[in-house]
């Protein structure tokens, strides 16, 4: 176990950011049910997204300078980091397109869904991001055991979110008459959550891969793959930061 000073301060920072995110999510929920202000919800979502993108996905690492040397691990990791971010930018356009579809078809109405259940699955995903950040910080400092524990927790929470949406939320919606073919609300809801769930699913596969390989000590020194899986996982969280208010909080409920 390596517990450097930097390690502790990074873990502390992750905790602090998680507290901010939790408070903002609670605030968001409160705003939605008490006076439903769309601009305010948008601001809260933006602040949350910026926090995750900066502190959990550490976008600033893109500007890290390293000597140009094709064969050096750090330089290759930097190239891979750029490639991953380019991919995420591309992927953002899918979700942005879905958002445009939702706004165009539904405007200031939203699918009739259980708001408490929505808050519950959101909380699960948010907590998973916290553990992912912990796991990543630990492996960067050579703490394999801590990494494995935290990644396993992330995986379980992620699986919980996926099953919560697909098995519980979808079934409840269909029972209530909100089906893919029932109208624009149903179509938007199933398409958006479906696309997001597909990304959660691929994220879970990545987590499983880094967990298995990490257990065999592959990332004790060269830990970029863990960073990549973590950044992807947080990206999926950022998408949900916008989808959650769009589907559960904004406007009035319709079938």
């Amino acid at each position: 176990m390596v517990h450097t000073h930097e390690n502790r301060s990074m873990l502390g920072q992750g905790m602090l950011i998680f507290v901010y995110l939790a408070v903002l999510t609670a605030l968001e929920f409160f705003v939605a049910i008490s006076f439903n202000s769309v601009p305010l919800l948008l601001v809260v979502a933006l602040v949350k997204a910026v926090l995750v993108v900066y502190y959990y996905m550490h976008v600033y690492k893109l500007s890290l300078e390293s000597e140009i040397d094709d064969e050096a691990y750090d330089y290759k990791a930097g190239t891979n980091r750029l490639g991953l971010w380019l991919f995420l930018i591309s992927d953002t356009f899918v979700f942005a397109g879905l958002m445009v579809m939702r706004v165009n078809l539904l405007g200031l109405s939203r699918p009739a869904l259980n708001q408490v259940l929505g808050l519950a699955v959101t909380a699960v995903l948010l907590i998973s991001s916290y553990f992912m950040n912990r796991g990543e910080t630990l492996i960067h400092n050579g703490d394999r055991k801590g990494f494995l524990t935290n990644t396993a927790v992330t995986f379980v929470l992620g699986l919980g979110f996926l099953l919560g949406v697909v098995l519980v939320e979808w079934r409840l919606a269909i029972e209530e008459g909100l089906t893919p073919s029932s109208g624009p609300a149903g179509a938007a809801f199933f398409m958006m959550t479906g696309m997001h769930a597909f990304h959660v699913f691929t994220g879970l596969i990545l987590l499983a891969i880094v967990w298995v390989n990490g257990r065999r000590g592959l990332y004790d020194v060269k830990s970029y793959p863990v960073e990549a899986a973590a950044v992807y996982w947080h990206f999926v969280d950022v998408v949900w930061i916008f989808f959650y208010p769009a589907l559960y909080l904004i406007g009035t409920a319709v079938h």
């Binding site: 040397d69 490639g83 591309s90 356009f93 899918v94 078809l105």
Partner: protein, 697 residues
């Protein structure tokens, strides 16, 4: 059989397999529906899939692409049967649907087929190893000879040529489709695509619609692949890298385009589709199963475009030679970056819009179904958000090629380097804001029209900058006119015509009349030929010696140019003339009283002459690979780094790295120098085949 030329062997096997596939299809038809349909889709689908596979089996044996295609066929059938089985278990009444498989079965089968192809061809092998925690060799050596082009290679030059050849094959296919329907249009009334004509479950007019739609999309995909081909081939050695940033992703991006092309051909036989390449709902929501194959094919090809452009950006950002600052980048690299920015981001929107229609058809989700509260105009917004910027994806690399080659053949510096570089980015960025000019007549909110008109007119500014630079570069130059330069000059003139006919369409008042006429058809053929096809041919003539060590025949190159250019003018100017007089696009027939018969006849003859010139090009290309005049040195007397090393290009480009010490296009200036080879030029370490780390076992 063993002594046969592989291509002949492939063609023989193609014939045999087509017959067998046709027989299987007829048998299945008989089994399921109790009657034999000689023009049916099942037999044609089987014939097509088996024939393509058998051809590559004959050419290359059961390896590489053949293995991929076999996997695709098996995957398609198994995927289809899986869904058919599920539907049977669920008690669905129309398990087999019209075409043996029901629509969901075909869609799922096609999807499984694409994924199977990827695994079959072996392009994800290294990634699977990495996921299992095993290390693989950093580089893979390709075997010598032509076989590497049919197999997975990580070398950017091989992949570039694979892309280019695939693009040329698709151009031939799409062009053939055009010739078929152009023949039908040569005279009014229906001649051979009549209502009694029957093929692939389609009547003559339906078949016309399918060919017209497929001509559009196959040409678009072939342009995207051609763009990727030239970018893949040239960008790494222009910036001094030994390969792309992500060689495996690069190979992956190429290989997904192969099953995508197969899917597009499948759409022809599976009932076709009649929407044009735009696939607007509500028509696309009820077209035959071919529509779904089209959606899935474009979706798959889109991934090729997205991942390829991701790679280009990463390569340019991370792998440039020492001293190659932003303002010393070759101009083609600037154009590639601009193009890649569009392709990386906007492509997702066409993928999404097509996916939404697919889901509307499969699951009854009413995104674009007005009866279910959906909005058909929403589709057009999502679709054009990509599909307009897409035309800049097509033309920006071509315009980059013009700027890249012009100084070489004029022997003087490129005029206004900075402005040219920035104008590519300018076109790319303004291009994101113009999409709704395709929708002036589609019932979108009227207040949106004027802003989109102005943003569209704004595109003419950066484009004008390019023309100004080209003319100023030509001014007072010592102009040489070998074949590549002819095509560059042709591109400038044709693109000018395309450019000048653009702003009239952007003006709302005119567009309301010009919309959906042959004027538009003439306009975009001019922009695409000027912006892509002519520069593409120029690039092939220019870099062919770099790839093969031989040059293409000059005489036949010039015949190609002088036959194609005037014919092309006749064709597109004819289109614009009949368009202005009211000829609608996308229709199989027109009223003889309109008096267009003669114009159409002339256009058809011109189209055949273009086809003849392209045929000459193909023969020249094929012949020159082995028998062309040797050209191993700096054939065009270029300053560009790739011409300072012998042709064909060494496997990892530069044995000794170079350093940029001057401006790239200072032709004719005394003592000016662009690059200097020096062992310390950059830290690119010389190529080794040893894995960097010992594999963990």
């Amino acid at each position: 059989m063993t002594n046969m030329n592989p291509v002949v062997k492939g063609l023989v096997l193609l014939g045999v397999a087509a017959a067998i596939g046709y027989g299987i299809g007829l048998g299945l038809d008989l089994l399921i529906s109790g009657s034999v349909n000689y023009n049916g889709s099942v037999s044609a689908a089987f014939a097509l899939l088996l024939a393509v596979t058998a051809f590559f089996f004959g050419v290359y044996g059961y390896r590489g692409i053949t293995r991929g295609l076999v996997f695709q066929v098996v995957g398609t059938v198994l995927g289809g049967l899986f869904i058919s089985g599920l539907r049977a278990l669920m008690g669905s009444e129309t398990v087999f649907g019209t075409f043996f498989f029901s629509e969901p079965a075909w869609v799922f089968g096609a999807l499984v087929g694409v994924i199977s192809f990827i695994f079959g061809v072996g392009v994800v092998r290294d990634w699977v190893q990495w996921a299992r925690g095993l290390d693989t060799a950093e580089h893979h050596e390709d075997p010598p000879g032509g076989g590497k082009y049919f197999d997975v290679s990580l070398d950017h030059k091989v992949i570039g040529i694979q892309y280019t050849v695939t693009a040329l094959v698709l151009i031939a296919v799409g062009g053939t489709f055009a010739l078929i329907f152009r023949t039908e249009l040569a005279a009014s009334q229906l001649q051979f695509l009549t209502t009694t004509f029957k093929l692939f479950n389609q009547t003559g007019p339906q078949f016309y619609n399918t060919l017209m739609s497929l001509h559009g999309i196959i040409m678009i995909i072939s342009i995207l692949l051609g763009v990727s081909g030239i970018m893949n081939y040239a960008v790494p050695f222009l910036v001094g890298a030994h390969d792309m940033a992500f060689p495996r992703l690069n190979a992956f991006a190429y290989w997904v385009s192969v099953p995508a092309s197969v899917l597009l051909l499948m759409s022809l036989v599976l009932g076709g589709f009649d929407t044009g390449w735009t696939g607007y709902p509500p028509l696309s929501a009820r077209a035959p199963v071919g529509m779904q194959m089209f959606f899935l094919g474009v979706f798959t090809a889109g991934w090729s475009s997205i991942l390829g452009s991701l790679n280009v950006i990463a390569t340019v950002v991370r792998m440039r030679a020492k001293g190659m600052s932003a303002m010393r980048l070759p101009i083609f690299v600037w154009a590639s970056v601009a193009t890649s920015i569009i392709a990386l981001t906007a492509t997702q929107l066409i993928g999404l819009s097509f996916q939404l229609v697919m889901f509307q058809r499969l699951f009854g989700m009413g995104f674009f179904d007005a009866a279910k509260g959906g909005n058909p105009v929403l589709f057009q917004h999502l679709f054009w958000f990509y599909s307009h910027p897409a035309v800049y994806v097509f033309v920006l690399p071509g315009l980059g090629i013009i700027s890249e080659l012009l100084p070489v053949f004029v022997r003087k510096p490129l005029f206004g380097y900075r402005w040219i570089a920035m104008s590519s980015l300018g076109i790319a960025l303004v291009g994101f804001t113009v999409w709704a000019h395709h929708m002036f007549t589609s019932g979108m909110n009227e207040y949106l029209r004027v802003p989109f008109m102005y943003s569209t007119l704004l595109v003419a500014v950066p484009t004008g900058v390019k023309f100004f630079s080209w003319v100023a570069t030509l001014w007072g130059g010592k102009i040489e006119t070998p074949t590549p330069m002819l095509f560059v000059l042709g591109a400038i003139v044709v693109f000018l015509l395309g450019g000048l006919t653009g702003p009239p369409n952007a003006a709302i008042a005119l567009d309301l009349h010009l919309h959906d006429t042959y004027f538009i058809v003439g306009h975009f053929h001019d922009t695409i030929f000027g912006g892509f096809v002519f520069p593409f041919f120029a690039a092939i003539y220019y870099w062919f010696p770099k790839a093969t060590g031989r040059r293409m025949n000059e005489f036949w190159g010039k015949v190609h140019f002088w036959l194609m250019t005037p014919s092309f003018f006749v064709l597109t100017l004819g289109m614009m003339v009949v368009g202005l007089k009211g000829m609608r696009r996308r229709i199989v027939d027109y009223d003889p009283a309109l008096g267009f018969d003669f114009s159409h006849l002339v256009m058809t003859i011109a189209a055949f002459l273009i086809a003849l010139s392209v045929l000459i090009f193909f023969i020249n290309l094929f012949y020159s690979i082995k028998k062309g005049e040797k050209a191993e040195g700096n054939l065009w007397n270029s300053r560009s780094p790739e011409w300072q090393v012998p042709s064909p290009m060494p496997v990892h480009n530069y044995d000794v790295p170079f350093e940029v010490v001057g401006e790239p296009y200072d032709y004719g200036l005394k003592d000016s120098k662009y690059i200097e080879f020096s062992p310390n030029g950059s830290k690119h370490i010389e190529f080794t085949t040893k894995p960097e780390v010992e594999p963990h076992h």
